[in-house]
């Protein structure tokens, strides 16, 4: 067996640094330069983590499904690596929504959890993609893994509107969209600006995380290749 080569050294990830810096800036602005909300007080600051995380989670899963769909036709391993990375990052952000939401709910609604439509939808999204990751984990073979998880990713995307619809009919308590509200913005402009800044920051952060995770997947696949390609007595 050849010397196990260490993963190739990558140049410093300036992009990640930038993303972290912008996110930090968004927070500095949110915490010190944006007034607290009148009724909710400082608890409302959670919004700046909560809503952008939700946005990124949806984005991540949408892209996972898209990458899967393209994989089925192009069979390009890079698409699968992207789907894998995006799903994992998406689960992290969904978890952030599911943690920040209850943290916020406790002081505002007086309960950690309620079976509101949006909460439920988020929870099931989380389940679907946890399932996605588990499925990936039990299929050792790379092509089969890419193929089956692509199918699951696409069906998952089809599922979201149905869950949305059915839980919406069930009952709802969560604030209606504040930004994309037909009656116009319902936040003071300074808050709205901070709000969008945070969205932008989180989107950057998503891109940076996926990029790093993707690089890891590339290295891992390359490493597997060098390990396994060793001749082994004709077997």
């Amino acid at each position: 067996m050849p010397e196990t080569s260490a993963a190739p050294r990558r140049p410093f990830d300036w992009f990640a640094l930038l993303a972290v810096a912008v996110t930090a800036a968004a927070y500095v602005r949110a915490i010190w330069f944006t007034p607290p909300e009148m009724l909710q007080g400082y608890a409302q600051k959670i919004l700046y983590v909560h809503a952008p995380s939700a946005w990124v989670a949806f984005l991540a899963f949408g892209l996972t499904a898209l990458a899967g769909a393209f994989w089925l036709f192009l069979r390009d391993p890079r698409l699968d690596r992207f789907a894998e990375s995006s799903a994992e990052v998406g689960v992290v952000f969904t978890t952030a929504v599911l943690v920040s939401g209850p943290l916020w709910a406790k002081p505002i609604w007086g309960t950690w959890w309620t079976w509101d439509a949006r909460l439920t939808l988020t929870l099931f999204l989380w389940f679907v993609y946890l399932g996605y990751l588990v499925l990936r984990g039990v299929i050792p073979e790379r092509d089969a893994r890419a193929r089956l998880s692509a199918v699951l990713g696409i069906l998952g995307a089809l599922l979201v509107p149905f869950i949305h619809l059915s839980v919406y009919l069930f009952r709802t308590m969560h604030p209606m969209p504040v930004v994309a509200n037909p009656d116009g913005f319902q936040m003071p402009p300074v808050m709205v600006k901070t709000f969008f800044f945070a969205f932008f920051a989180f989107t950057l952060l998503y891109a940076a995380l996926v990029r790093a995770r993707y690089a890891f997947a590339t290295d891992r696949d390359a490493l597997e290749a060098t390990l396994d390609a060793t001749p082994d007595g004709g077997r």
């Binding site: 089956l148 199918v151 069906l155 599922l159 059915s166 009919l169």
Partner: protein, 228 residues
Amino acid sequence: MRAPGLLAASWAIARKDLAIEFRTRSAFLSSVVFSLLAIVIFYFAWDPTAVGPLALAPGVLWVTFTFSGLLAMHRSFGVEAADGAIDALLVAPVARESIFLGKALANVVFVAGVQAVSLPAIAIFYNVPLAGAWLPLLGILLLATVGLVAVGTLFASITANTRMAELLLPVLAIPFFVPVVMPAAQATADVLSGRPIAESFAWLRILLAFDLVFVYACTVAYPFTIED
């Protein structure tokens, strides 16, 4: 020698699956007993003084159908995986969609058979007046069963070849069952409490849309789950 068409092949596969299930009749019998037991254990898991049986019944019904359906769908690919028989299906000159349709058809028949027995049972145990509700209930059952089976059959095919099929199948499938089970249970509750079926149309529409989207999507997706 002409390869059989889509429907002929589906039918041959469904018949074979049903032959296996009914060979000893015990698979069907066990499924029925399983449903009955689930219904009974649900009864005992709750304090009947705290929760009225009529409020429990629709939920029990649908949770029971969900789990017994999952078992049936797990089995339907289990028999293929055991000695590699699925390979023989894949080598045969039938469209892969027909494998899916055949298995789904067998599953619908099987699950519907189980439901036909457990529905009256639940009516008796939980003292639910079914008399006037038969027809709407049948409609709900049919709509929901088709959706459950389509999704469940697809996922059973995905998980059949992993070493964790019986665990992974519910994990993957249950989130997809939510938009079926919830509307079905709500519509059932409405119907059982004597409200006119028109009030449940919103629920039924979800079910119908789900069936249309997922029967199609799963049939199209199935070939991708088996090629290797």
